[in-house]
Symmetry: C2
Subunit: 192 residues, 2 copies
DNA sequence: CGCCGAGTTGAACTGAATCAAGAAACGTGG
DNA sequence: CCACGTTTCTTGATTCAGTTCAACTCGGCG
């Protein structure tokens, strides 16, 4: 299982030296959470990054009562209260477990320690952040250039299983549309 | 001038060791470009990142004839054909010089070399990418949560001088609105 | 069962886009 | 330094994609 994990990290992101792998395995903490668990609440300082081994989770805003999803993480992906984690401010995000999950919890202290100690871990962090940055950019151009329907189809192309794992209301808010609009997209009226 | 530059990089992003500074200064190339110069065109492979010493530039899309700005860079900021630079694909972006500019050009090869050789340069890259990632995230929530007018006011709060340095049409497309809408925001009608 | 959250459907509304026509500002050459 | 063409910006009328509000359906589960 630990070998499996290191293999995935190495393949998906970047390889680590043996010494670094060793220390990572020693220091990291694996936790299990039930569906519905709130890992981070708005206003909290969160210095943790979660790597999903099983299950899925989302980051979302509560913007005057509106629940708006900002990020989904499935197996072998990261999720964190990104603002709080990187800028050490109170989190605007909540993080919620959407399916019973097994996760690795990495604190910022651990990440910074390992990144300071091991050049290849610093590189790994760079790669993870770069991927996240490119995903955000993709989302921006998706919102600016595509209609609600096109965005839904693009999401389906990338993540066909999302509709079976995540309630439609979360998908809608992630796409920047209302649940009603998503419902209409999924059940188009016959043309006149 | 070179000392000045290293001081800015160190203060704005992350400090570099003397050896690394040395090699960076030796390897980097400084260029000047006139207003209107296109540094990168859509479809090109661009492996350069530009650090603006003087002037400003923008990255933009030509999406079926529509010119849509995606990123502005002013003094002491980076701009690159982000997709091509990071994923080695043909660039969807153009890059245009908006004011006569002096820039440092860093190739991906140089950056990867320095990052592989110097742990602190790898860290610097991580910091730059992290800042970019957070800026993208901010832009997403700006688009999702705020009206056209609020987005314009937010941009003004961050970059008051942008209206004097960049044509309104570029600002409008960056905000995800049309030039006409921006004009109306700037010249509100008296209420009835 | 009966309730409750999730999703669907309909009708009216709205912020911003689009289309169209000018006005201002800009710069370039005579 | 002015005339003329080009680019940038403003203003108005109309349209539209998506929201809002509201009522209803479905499916699971205590």
């Amino acid at each position: 299982m630990k070998e499996e994990l290191l293999k995935i990290i190495s393949q998906t992101y970047a390889p680590l030296s043996t010494a670094c792998q060793q220390e990572l395995l020693e220091q990291m903490k694996v936790s299990s959470y039930e569906k519905g668990t709130i890992l981070v609440r708005e206003g909290q300082y969160s210095d943790k990054s979660f790597f999903i081994l099983q299950g899925c989770a989302r980051a979302f805003y509560l913007n005057d009562g509106r629940d708006i999803s900002d990020w989904f993480a499935f197996e072998n992906e990261f999720v964190s209260a990104i603002v709080s984690f990187f800028t050490n401010q109170p989190s605007p995000h909540y993080i919620e477990v959407l399916e019973d999950a097994v996760v690795i919890e990495l604190t910022r202290t651990l990440i910074d320690d390992l990144a300071g100690k091991y050049h290849d871990f610093e590189h790994l962090v760079r790669v993870v952040v770069t991927k996240t940055m490119l995903a955000q950019r993709e989302r921006i151009s998706s919102i600016l250039f595509h209609t609600a329907e096109e965005r839904y189809q693009l999401l389906l192309a990338i993540r066909p299983d999302i509709v079976n794992r995540v309630p439609l209301m979360h998908i809608a808010s992630y796409l920047g549309i209302t649940l009603e609009t998503l419902s209409r997209i999924r059940h188009p009226k016959k043309r006149i």
